[in-house]
Symmetry: C2
Subunit: 395 residues, 2 copies
DNA sequence: TAGAAAAATTATCGCGCGTAAAATTTATAT
DNA sequence: ATATAAATTTTACGCGCGATAATTTTTCTA
């Protein structure tokens, strides 16, 4: 057998005795050409899985009305809101449901209801575990509250964000939880969207757009990290992207400058090149350039966000710059977000943690109020949750 | 102003002069109690955004038939398949569409069509950027092919995986791209599901279930990493979870043992404790225990997957164990997957890369064939793509 | 220009459920 | 027991579109 280094093309390989698979690998036509060997395809003819032990499969509410002995309009009321029918009839319905496992056709329901139970959840970049975690939290809340959430990611692209809004209109959602891209967003289109669909913005604010905003208090993040760094050592420089994707970055820079001045230090903002959402790589390249030159104005760096810090720490390691708070280290690094991976960086990252839990809970709760209020809140509110400083080894 | 260390509770904070937000922070009742100050809520009365410059908003296909001068059945055909009508009428329809921006009601369409254009994409753990990337790739393919993908994450929980299948049945999807949890999956329930809904499994195989499987060739991964490590230094130990979440892990262990024996070395499998999907933490704790004791049988470790390796590298750093291939290092670490973060570990991680692109492309293409074939393929195929060795600094 | 084939039109039904109004039953209070 | 309110049932219609059959129109071929 022949093993080759990465980058080379052809690769032939034979697998285990039982289930043999031969793959002829050709980067150019890999899909069309890959040969396959099959198993015995024992697939029974199509047929929807039988649910409970019902003899005859119920097709619609009419039939279920017959077998349950409840009229269809009452059943309709029940499925709309189980508490809206008398407890005795509710019991009868639920008893019948255990026998026949009927479920209303979601398409027919959505077509006819004035308001669906759909909720759209839109995040700017799902490959960022931070958003994946928030999204999961929001999903769970929505389901618990009896809604049907659908998850969308803009993946850093305006075009996708627009498509998502387009697709969302068609779903006539009861409400939308929307974390915009930020700088890359088409502001006026989002404004239009928010006027048509009850929307709560989160994570990244667009002034005046949407019925409410829930996010983190960027000043709280930066003030804590700056205060900590200055109190325990030299005041930090601020490390960020030249053209940040997110408005939070601007608020963090402003907060940094404000805090430094308040504490009587000279602010020093380091801006690195780079576009898009590959923050780690941008942070890494920027840091290599910066630290490779060797002229660092301070021995402490505060990164605008953890993903930049992850890249920066990677660069430090590569350059042999020891990071941490012990004497052997020449640089301290702190950051903001408490990214899921920040505890596994080398060294582990001191950072200001988002209050994930409260941001998502409050976002969901606000949306529910909005929906119950008929699509409008008495006033547009902005709710910011403060950060929690997490001390680890990097500073 | 008073700054406090992490963990303490109360935190009062006042923000910028213009948009003042006061947040009284109380971990126990944070949500209910947080006070808010509002902006001028200038929200125009509800109304769906006007699309193109149409005078009257078209409500349904009937009305669009009138304004476009095309009969409704023809329009129906067009929206079902634009190529199914004469080019001249197609032009007329599309001209009218630019004037009136009508779009068929998706619920009515789905209710009446025998087959919807819905596609479900199910991944086991979306907070893993690996799956987020694959999911994005699959989404894009589906959209390009004219389908409507919906993304679901089981988040490592069987209960959620079951709920997703339940919810998916109701959507009557044309097909489903399904990456099961693996060990935690309810095998028989997935089997039932796959008999009712045309499904292509990917990433994690369940023998005989689904119409096809597309994944990576685990033997190819491990054989390359083992071969590389042995050729350039000492043969590696194999580092994995005692009870892996995923069947791929078992195949990798078997491949490791097989390769070692083939090369004439004694296999050495290190199994660390831990349940669930927090692989990094499990890897870290396991490595701290293992390396803290100091009795490492080899100076090379091959991790079952990158997320374990990320935890292991973090432990090495903490313990002051230098990892890499230069002389100053005492340990070499390699792994499998090419996780998006593996290039930012310290040191950067040598790993066998998934062929993301081909796995997702082939998965999507197989599903489309399956759908066009009426829900069944002539035979159940398993397609595995080999890995590509990525040499970085850790080994 | 005739004839056949293709496409579009008209007309009508069905999908599964929401919803409204009127008639009937049931629960609660006097 | 009786009056009253509340819940339920009956009846009927509407939602927006897919699908079909029968007819008419258009287009293609010779």
């Amino acid at each position: 057998m022949n093993f080759r280094r990465a980058g080379e093309a052809a690769f032939v390989y034979v697998s285990f005795p039982n289930k043999v698979l031969i793959i002829q690998f050709d980067f150019l036509r890999a899909i069309r050409n890959c040969k396959k060997v099959t198993e015995d395809g024992s697939n029974s003819p199509l047929g929807w899985g039988s649910g409970a032990m019902s003899k005859t499969q119920i097709k619609n509410m009419e039939e279920f009305a017959v077998v349950s002995g409840i009229s269809r309009p009452t059943l309709s009321k029940y499925f709309n809101d189980p508490a809206s029918v008398r407890v005795s009839t509710r019991a009868r319905i639920e008893a019948a449901l255990e026998q026949h496992d009927y479920r209303p056709n979601i398409f027919a329901v959505n077509q006819n209801r004035k308001l669906t139970k759909n909720i759209g959840i839109v995040v700017p970049y799902l490959a960022d575990p931070f958003f994946a975690e928030i999204a999961r939290n929001l999903e769970e809340r929505c389901i618990q509250a009896g809604y049907r959430p659908t998850l969308y990611s803009s993946h850093g692209e305006q075009k996708l964000e627009l498509e998502i809004m387009d697709s969302l209109r068609g779903l006539r959602p009861a409400g939308v939880l929307f974390a915009p891209l930020g700088r890359a967003s088409d502001r006026s289109e989002i404004e239009k969207f928010c006027k048509a669909v009850p929307t709560v913005l989160f994570d990244s604010n667009l002034d005046g757009i949407g019925e409410a905003f829930i996010g983190s208090d960027n000043f709280s993040f930066v003030s804590q990290t700056v205060e900590y760094l200055t109190r325990t050592g030299e005041p930090p420089s601020f490390f960020e992207m030249k053209t940040p994707a997110n408005p939070n970055a601007n608020k963090r820079r402003i907060a940094y400058i404000q805090m430094m001045e308040r504490l009587g230090f000279e602010p020093n903002v380091i801006k690195v090149e780079g576009q898009g959402w590959a923050f780690e790589e941008i942070g890494r390249q920027g840091a290599l350039k910066l630290l490779g030159a060797g002229n660092l104005p301070t021995n402490a760096i505060l990164c605008s966000n953890d993903r930049l810090a992850i890249g920066l720490l990677s660069a430090c390691y590569q350059l042999g710059i020891r990071v941490g708070r012990d004497k052997s280290a020449s640089l301290r690094v702190a950051s903001n977000d408490d990214h899921p991976f920040s505890r596994f960086t080398c060294p582990s990252l001191t950072t200001a943690a988002h209050d994930y839990e409260n941001v998502s809970n409050k976002s969901a709760e606000t949306l529910f109020q909005l929906i119950e209020g008929g699509g409008h809140l008495p006033e547009r509110t902005e709710t910011l949750f403060p950060a929690r400083l997490v001390l680890r080894d990097s500073a």
